[in-house]
Symmetry: C2
Amino acid sequence: MLHVAEAARVSVATVSALINGTATVSPELSARIEQAIRDIGYKRNAIARSLKMGTTRTIGLTVPHITNPFFTAVVSVIQQAFDRAGYAVMLCCTDEDLNTQDDQIRLLLDRMVDGLIVARVGDGAILERIVADANVPVVLMDRLCEGVDTDAVVLDNQRAVFDVISYLIDLGHRRIGYITGTSDISPMHDRMTGYCEALQAAGLPVAEELVRSGNFHEIDGYNATMQLLSLHDRPSAIFSANNPMVIGTMKAIRDIGLSCPEDISVACFDDFPWSDVFQPQLTTVAQPVQAIGEQAANLLLDRLAGNRDTPPRKLVLKGRLMIRNSCRPLGAVQSVSA
Amino acid sequence: MLHVAEAARVSVATVSALINGTATVSPELSARIEQAIRDIGYKRNAIARSLKMGTTRTIGLTVPHITNPFFTAVVSVIQQAFDRAGYAVMLCCTDEDLNTQDDQIRLLLDRMVDGLIVARVGDGAILERIVADANVPVVLMDRLCEGVDTDAVVLDNQRAVFDVISYLIDLGHRRIGYITGTSDISPMHDRMTGYCEALQAAGLPVAEELVRSGNFHEIDGYNATMQLLSLHDRPSAIFSANNPMVIGTMKAIRDIGLSCPEDISVACFDDFPWSDVFQPQLTTVAQPVQAIGEQAANLLLDRLAGNRDTPPRKLVLKGRLMIRNSCRPLGAVQSVSA
DNA sequence: TGACAGGATCGAAACGTTTAGATTAGCGTT
DNA sequence: AACGCTAATCTAAACGTTTCGATCCTGTCA
């Protein structure tokens, strides 16, 4: 900018005024300055600007796994929203690990992000303190966090699980395997509640051995399914808590020589684009990814626009049961291969 | 840092020296400074540091679509690599659009990223000039770009397409539909060459009407497939250029009332985690995502480490044909439903 | 004619670091 | 005792902006 000012024979203050439109500058000088900018190929240094202004127009976004199509979709929506608003987004993947997550968030705060969207924080993270220290707005996604009282958008997990389990019960299933996530509290609890409620509403017992938990990876789903399938009285249906885990479930079913839905019915959390073109077409609980992403972005953009003192807002969205052909009705006759 | 210095009764220079280990500071002062840092809860301002040092320890990464599992996987690998190296990564999605891409890259350069990984640039982008202006190292991924002479890691597209088409020919297919991408030159050309070579090697003609192009979206694959399937003498196999497009292909096949592989064989570019658990299990050309991501990261990290004057390096990786059950051999007897 | 308002322009401080070079203190040599 | 050497510490400039307040100019009005 100094060079531009010199070339245009004006002060840097005038150049700044012209660029930002913060003061009127005469047509004559404007022309000279614009010419100089073009000649020199001047680009404003955003770092210097950030230092002075105290804002980076950059936000941080952490997700557990970008390879999970649910998060991929949400990230995509969020990215677009902030792009439109002129913000850049720094993406971090925490791999479902608490320490990694803390590190990532520190990294982001070090970079002076203006705000933070944290997807699926684990409980017990020092997030609480980190967030209190750094004075930036935070919005939680997909999972609340004990002790962190801030904007959030989550799914009505209890209801979603209730719906899908009820659907399976309606089909005639009595023993329903349930593979859930670990290292969390609030959604785990909600989903478990939904599972139990659905069973109880149908007068069915909650069998301990039918509930397995894993750390959201494919291998966890695989192992959990293997355990469920080797039970003496194995379940006739399995509900898996996310997309990577249900892939593990399907692999386990295949490896053990069974098939879906003939021998065992499967449903899962999170829809994906190809769910209705391959067989079996999975019955899923679709999360409203578009809405989740947009709402999260809006909550944060609102804070960034200066609205700092309204109390934390919690948005609870509804899932939608997408019934396809991976769950079969259980008639009087049991599955042939059973 | 000023407050810390005051609290510890030393100069800021000493504080800086201690924090960065750039000079020895006496145990006595060290203790005082560390205490002050703890008391105040001081965190170094990375923006100020960046301004002074001229480096942000942040890189920019652009991909066409983060919802495409191929890019998702690569992004994940790259993210991890830079994470390990203490770099943050800013992610942008260009949506296969040239202008968007230019905008995104400008946004990233404005943010003073230290380097850039650009996946799948379209030709004709002003990338060339942008890159020349900004003085940061750039590595190209997945697609080269005329006029931009810089580090790159790409697939041997010609060979990959040759292999998969040859495979289809070996199965007995004679009319093979080919759905490729648009808005590119070099890989389009390479892949087309591979397609033609495979046909010619088998003494088969290249039929214009069997080649369709689309802009990499699901809908493009759908439309292209619809066109192919409504040909008078429709192809017995279709090769689709990426994952979103092959989903479109599968939907078109379904909607038109055909099934794969009974009525029509399908293969595509890019493997994905669930490819062998659902039916049909797609035959694909798997790109070595891990290697691609790592190599791209390494190339850039090497430049960032200061190696600026070795000439541009082009890495060409090999794809791998993953044969599954979405392509059936064409015997003497035609498909029953045909 | 002189005071004054208002617009255009500028000078300089500030943002929070890093770092080159100056200063100081301590200590062994001659 | 004077000297130089080293290690520890400090002073101050610099990075490239923004912005407050000062200055300058022009024209208007009493």
